[in-house]
Symmetry: C2
Subunit: 219 residues, 2 copies
């Protein structure tokens, strides 16, 4: 667990105090964020595709199938950018200029590597499954060779990554604090509801504990 040195691109210039290069902070945000957004150049034009990720140590694995057409482009060595933001609150200031959000975001830059090694690919597949639903991997029918082959997974290292975090209440202009205007924070969270059984479930199986008591890994 080492801190990452800021690079010219990940260095947070605009709001320096919100920039975080601590690896533990970056890891925790990546682990908690349900999905991520992958930016790449598609025929020279920017494209952003939402997908699922998982982190194993210093490597971020990205599930490629939702973007296979574009991920094939990356085989030519193009760089990608992976961004995710967890929204924790709406910051309600006295004037719209100071409205903000409390959030924890991560931006990772890197050149993707296609995961071909069967052992690494299976580990990444398991990590992505467990990222979304901790406990599910060992409770599923394991992937067969065709499914492993058909799953596109790319890896980027977390060498060039940074986080941004905002917490707390609004920061208004001094003269506005006397205005009769409410100010504060509306908490925001993602919630996971009661599992809905598949209409086509033919067997008698209880809802697994890891779904009735769903929570993200380490959180």
């Amino acid at each position: 667990m080492t801190d990452l040195p800021p690079t010219p691109r990940t260095e947070v210039r605009r709001i320096a105090e919100r920039g975080v290069y601590d690896r533990a902070v970056i890891n925790a945000i990546l682990d908690e964020a349900l999905i991520c957004y992958v930016g790449l150049n598609h025929n020279g034009r920017p494209a952003v595709v939402p997908t699922v990720h998982a982190r194993l140590g210093d490597t971020l694995y990205i599930h490629g199938s939702p973007a296979s057409r574009m991920l094939r482009q990356m085989k030519r060595g193009a760089e990608i950018c992976v961004t995710t933001a967890i929204i924790d609150g709406l910051v309600v200031a006295r004037t719209p200029f100071h409205n903000s959000m409390n959030y924890r975001s991560v931006i990772v830059y890197g050149s993707p590597r296609f995961v071909d090694d069967p052992e690494e690919k299976m580990a990444a597949f398991a990590a992505i499954t467990e990222h979304v639903i901790p406990g599910r991997w060992v409770d599923s029918r394991p992937p067969n060779d065709k499914e492993v082959t058909g799953t596109l997974i790319v890896a980027i290292t977390l060498d060039e990554a940074s986080a941004k975090v905002r917490v707390g209440g609004p920061k208004d202009e001094p003269e506005d604090y006397d205005l009769p205007i409410w100010a504060g924070v509306v908490p925001v969270a993602r919630v996971y509801g009661k599992p809905i059984v598949d209409d086509d479930l033919r067997v008698t199986v209880a809802v697994p504990d890891y779904l009735t008591d769903y929570h993200r890994r380490d959180h």
Copy 2:
């Protein structure tokens, strides 16, 4: 309210049945999504920045300040891609290969236009404020000239936009339906909690109704 013709880039090739070009669907997703992710080329490399948006008719306005360094790049005429995804459920299949999510996503491509006209800029500022907290704009201290000038807003038209929507349960291999494995959907939603008053609130003001009974516009 017209449907958009698919262009080569927005045409959904991989999973054609999930592609939606209906303008009403695209608008509803953009209006409901709390934030968006802006992809652009930054010195020739892809970058993805989360920010706040609002739609007015056929125009998508994007709040620029979180990315001002990169948005300045766009002044040179570079294209952007704006993507957002609302996650509605975790689709729990019998095997990891068929795990999925229920989601509603939109991808918009376009060349951004910097909003300079004071009237349009104020309307966009109001729309972005109301996008996040419907009812707040008229209940705040209006922006002064300095704040309007200091707020960077860009516009792109919704000419080249598409949505993708997945609903329903898992689609497993026929032979897997007899396995003693639970399958179904875990609902996912973003929730907005009880407002927390600013520690520095000096005046006596009740929490506004639009915060205690918070809901996104049209939803």
